[in-house]
Symmetry: C2
Subunit: 210 residues, 2 copies
DNA sequence: CGGCAATTAAAACAAACGTTTGACTTATTT
DNA sequence: AAATAAGTCAAACGTTTGTTTTAATTGCCG
C-alpha cells in the first residue's frame, strides 16, 4: 500500500470507505487521512469528489460489465447457432456468475460490490446517474434475452420479474454488517459458487413460474 | 395542510423529502422551508433531526408492523387449528399484502414506502438501526414460519431465500424515478393487487424450488 | 383582563464540508 | 546544470450543516 501512488491509494481507500459508510457520509478528509495523503490531492488527481466516485465505478465496473455483456451475447449466439432459444438459467448465469465471483477476483473488489449493492437506491442523483449510465445497456440486453427465453410472459411481466431478480441479487452484493436478525446456523458469507447455486435456483424457478 | 399543526406538517414534509432525496441529502432548512415553519421547530418538537426521522418511522411502521405480525400469527394459528403446516404462499402473502396495499392506505404513505425501500441500504448507522430495530421481530417471525413451511430446506437455505425475497419486495417499495432502462409497454406503477400477484407468484416458486 | 405556559420567530453558534490558493518539493526534460 | 513540469503541502476560502439561544408571540385558564 505504501509503494502505490497517491492516485491509486485514493481509489482504494475511497472505495472501501464509500462502501462502508456511503457517499455522503464519507468526507474527503476521512479518505485522505486514512490514505495518508494530502486533502488537496483529490482535487488535483480527480477534480472533485464526484469525479472520484466516478473513477471508482469506472475502474471496476467497466471490465465487469464487459464480461457480463460478452457472456450474455455468447448465450444468445450459442443458442442461435444450435437453432434454439436460450434458457432463463443460461441468461441469469451469464449475469450472476461474473457478478458474484467478482468478490474474490481482486483485493478490494468486495468493497466495490458493497458499493454497487447500494447504488440502486443511492440518494444522490449524480452518483446514481453515474451507475445507471454504466449498467443501462447491460440491463437492456438482459431484458431482451429474457423476453426471448420466456415467450409466454408479457414484456411487463418480464420487466417486473427482472426487477425482482435484481433486488434478490443485490442482497448478495450488499448485506449490512448489522442485520435485523441473524438466526443461528446461517452462513453470512457463503462461497461464490454456493451463493450462485442458491441464487440461480431461486431465480430460475421464479422467472419460469406459470 | 395549512390547518394542521407544525408538528404534523414537519412529519409530512420530512417524510416526502427524505423519501425523495434520502436522509443526509435533505437538510432541516429544506424541510422547514417547504413546511412553512421555523427552523428551530424541529429542535423544539422532536429534539433532533435523527429523532424526527425516528418519529416518521414510528408513525407509519408501528401500525404496519402490527398488521403484518397479526397476519403472520393468524397464518400460523389457522394452520395449527387445521392440523397442518402453513404454506409458503400464506406466509408470504401475510407479509406482502399489507406492505403493498399500504401505498394507497393514506396520503403520504407512498412516500414512506419509498423511504423504507431505501432503509435496507441506508448509509447512516443510526437511521438504519432505527429501522432494523423496528422490523427485527417481524423478520424473525417470518423466518420461523418459513422454516416450518419448508421442512426440506436447511435454515441457511431458508435464510438466504428470505433475503432474496426481501430484496425482490424492496424493488416494489422503491423504484427510482430515473431507471437505467424502461422498455416500452411496462407499467411502472401497477395496482397493488396486480403487483401482489406478480410478486407472490415469483417468490412462492423461488421459495419452493427444489 | 391579567398571567402563565406553550409555541414560534429571528439570529447566531461552532463544526464540518468540498474546494481553492500559493508556496514548496520532487521528477523529468532539454 | 538549467528549466520546465508534476506533485505535494499547509492554510484558508466561502458555504452549509444541525443545533442553541433569546426574544416575541400566541393561546388558554382563572
Amino acid at each position: 500500500m505504501d509503494k502505490s501512488t497517491t492516485k491509486q491509494r485514493l481509489l482504494d481507500v475511497a472505495e472501501k470507505l464509500f462502501a462502508d459508510s456511503g457517499y455522503h457520509c464519507t468526507s474527503l478528509r476521512k479518505i485522505t487521512a486514512e490514505a495518508g495523503v494530502n486533502l488537496a490531492s483529490v482535487s488535483y488527481h480527480f477534480g472533485s469528489k464526484e469525479a472520484l466516485v466516478e473513477a471508482i465505478f469506472e475502474r471496476r465496473l467497466r471490465p465487469l460489465n464487459e464480461e457480463r455483456l460478452g457472456r450474455l451475447e455468447a448465450v444468445r449466439a450459442d443458442a442461435a447457432a444450435a437453432g434454439r432459444k436460450p434458457t432463463a438459467e443460461e441468461a441469469l448465469r451469464a449475469f450472476i456468475e461474473p457478478t458474484l465471483r467478482f468478490r474474490d477476483s481482486a483485493p478490494g473488489a468486495r468493497y466495490f460490490l458493497h458499493l454497487i449493492g447500494r447504488a440502486l437506491t443511492e440518494p444522490d442523483d449524480a452518483v446514481r446517474s453515474i451507475f445507471f449510465r454504466m449498467v443501462g445497456p447491460l440491463f437492456a440486453l438482459l431484458f431482451e434475452v429474457l423476453t426471448e427465453t420466456l415467450p409466454n410472459l408479457s414484456r411487463n411481466q418480464v420487466f417486473w420479474r427482472l426487477n425482482f431478480a435484481i433486488g434478490a441479487i443485490s442482497r448478495c452484493t450488499f448485506l449490512p454488517e448489522k442485520l435485523p436478525v441473524v438466526p443461528p446456523g446461517v452462513e453470512l458469507e457463503p462461497s461464490p459458487d454456493l451463493q450462485i447455486d442458491m441464487l440461480v435456483g431461486f431465480l430460475v424457478a421464479g422467472m419460469e413460474a406459470s
